[in-house]
């Protein structure tokens, strides 16, 4: 009760503040992503650009060179110094940026996490690309369909320390409990540390150690591409099925030659776009990030905010999109 009251008070305060800000100068948003030069995040920045043309806010963006938590803290401190109105972050470490983001929130800066969340105490709102359960489910459905509902499968993940990877794998395992997947056996989960050569070696190890392996799920863009190379190099295209979360630009050739017959990813442009709209709505005081609120996300329509179950709130962008050999041509040069 006390919390709601204080939230409302803060909202009222910020409403007046927000109005004051918008009267003087444009809203300024600081965008932090996991790593500079990662095409996925370059595409997400395009989403922010689109939204900024529609809404007329300013934004600056930056990510560390080495996808480190410390690098992100440096960038966030720089954004606080530049007096941004909101910080939109895809965190490398959900817990590691909480302290610095709390100091930002103390200064009245709104914090939105997107793509990869920040713990509830360090954010106002989380924007998930999709419902985590669905992300786990569709990949299991896909691989089951490809291998004909029977046989050994393995998961090639990024790192054992990645929160979103672990969540998806948890949901995959839950999905595999269902009776229709009785004949599918998940033999192991291996980690390629999001390094191409390491992931390649892990995939090669899987091929060697499990001669009866029928399918592989790799819910990471680096992993799924490395797995595709390894499967193709071993001459097993079509014999070991592959799905996962992959970048269309990186996977184009593997979809075309059917090493991978179907994979998923959400649209990073939409992700950035929704995060931008949420940030602006929050700075303007239209939303506070409480469950039950909703905001207008441009051409993508209204987004409802709901309880995330971790003490905070979240909203989603959409369903993961399925890329197939048939539709890859139109996407491979987009992101």
């Amino acid at each position: 009760m006390k919390r709601i009251l204080s939230l409302m008070l803060a909202a009222a305060l910020l409403l007046s503040l927000g109005l004051a800000v918008s009267a003087e100068e444009p809203i300024k948003i600081g965008v932090v992503y996991k790593q500079t030069g990662n095409p996925f995040f370059e595409a997400a920045v395009r989403g922010f650009e689109e939204a900024s043309q529609e809404l007329g806010f300013e934004f600056i963006h930056n990510g560390p060179a080495d996808s480190s938590n410390e690098g992100q803290i440096q960038i966030i401190e720089g954004f606080i110094q530049q007096e941004v109105d909101a910080i939109a972050i895809s965190a490398n470490d959900a817990a590691g940026v909480v302290s610095v983001l709390q100091t930002a929130m103390d200064k009245g800066i709104k914090v939105i996490s997107w793509d990869s969340k920040v713990l509830a105490e360090g954010r106002n709102l989380n924007i998930d690309p999709s419902v985590a359960q669905n992300i786990g489910r569709v990949q299991v459905e896909e691989i089951a369909a490809q291998i004909g509902g029977e046989g050994q499968i393995a998961v090639l993940s990024a790192a054992a320390t990645h929160d979103n990877q672990n969540t998806w794998i948890k949901y995959m395992k839950e999905e595999l409990e269902k009776p229709e997947y009785d004949k599918i056996e998940l033999v192991t989960v291996v980690y390629g540390d999001d390094l191409t050569d390491k992931s390649y070696q892990e995939m090669q190890g899987l091929i060697n150690s499990y001669p009866d392996l029928k399918g592989v799920i790799s819910p990471t863009t680096v992993g799924v591409a490395a797995a595709a190379v390894a499967i193709k190099d071993a001459g097993l295209s079509g014999k070991i099925k592959l799905t996962g979360l992959g970048l269309p630009s990186e996977m184009a050739d593997f979809l075309a030659d059917r090493t991978c017959e179907g994979m998923y990813l959400w649209n990073p442009i939409d992700l950035g776009y929704v995060a931008a709209y949420a940030s602006v709505a929050m700075v303007k005081g239209e939303i506070t990030g409480a469950a039950g609120e909703s905001f207008e996300a441009g051409h993508l329509g209204v987004r409802e905010i709901s309880d995330a179950g971790d003490g905070g709130t979240f909203t989603i962008v959409g369903d993961p999109f399925r890329f197939t050999p048939e539709n890859i041509e139109e996407w491979k040069n987009v992101y």
Binding site: A160, T196, N208, S209
Partner: protein, 357 residues
Amino acid sequence: MSTRQFKPLRLGRLLRNRELGLTLVLLALIGLIGLRNPAFATPGNLQFILGDTSILIVLALGMMCVLLVGSIDISVPAVMALSAMTAGIVMKNNLVQADTQVLVDGALTAATVKTSTPLPLLLLLAAGVGAACGLLNGLLIAYGRVLPIVATLGSQYILYGLSHLISGGQAIYRKDMSDAFIQFTRGNVLGFNSKVLIMLAAFLVLMAFINYTRYGRRLYAVGSNAEAARMSGINTRAVTLSAHTIMGLLAGLAGMLYASHDNKVTQDMAMGYEMYVIAACVIGGVSVTGGVGKITGVALGALTIGVINNGLTMLRLTGNSEFWKKAIQGAVILIAIITNVYIKRAHERRVLRERRL
């Protein structure tokens, strides 16, 4: 020499040959890992390791030249990234796609053929960029008198920054690569992977250079006693410069191998790889203070690293915990270099004893 000494000498010869000691360590490692996971010690997997390690060997050969003259280069992965990125951008910009039909299993099927700048030209470009980077490092170190670690730490930052700038934030993916480039590390000649053949070629050329040319011997001279080398008329600066240029050239080539193998070039390519390269040299018996090291040792050292890395993957698949792999890797490398020290000490004691006799 009397016949009485014959037997101990043979044992001595065995120990004196440090490469043999390392080979035994390597075989023991393969045997032990193979016991845990039989899939490890199969000819197929061992051949895979050889192919996978080829890039490391090529780099370790270059690093050996640099270490021999008493220098070091930790900018290697950045040189690889910049070279591969430069060549990759040229390849991407000149890419031509054509739909044709190829014969698969006796039937004509539609296929896309991707051509671009001829592969030899791309390789030349990458090697050139690499050599230029190496030359720059060499100039800083030999003529600018900047200490090697400092100079190459700085150039690592700079070269990664440059590869980011020229890339414009975009990576090079398989769709941007010509068929010839993708096949570059996948060809097969007489049952050998082309990576292995390229590595062998580099190995033989460098072996001939180091062991049989006057110029190559100078690397040792400069490294073991720079002052003496200078007094005997060797241009020590030029030798250091050339060692770094060789390193750069090989790093440029290795960058292309790496890119072709991975099917991609990113601006942060191979970050942290320099540590494996240096470790391979040290396990192979190269002294970081210069003047000591053999080319066969370096190759064996790199293979040891390859076996450890692949072995950890294979061990994990038999149920060992994911979380132990890093500690095991560190411990094994530490044990390997310390074992090497003991072999060397035993050898030196033996030599001393023989002298006394």
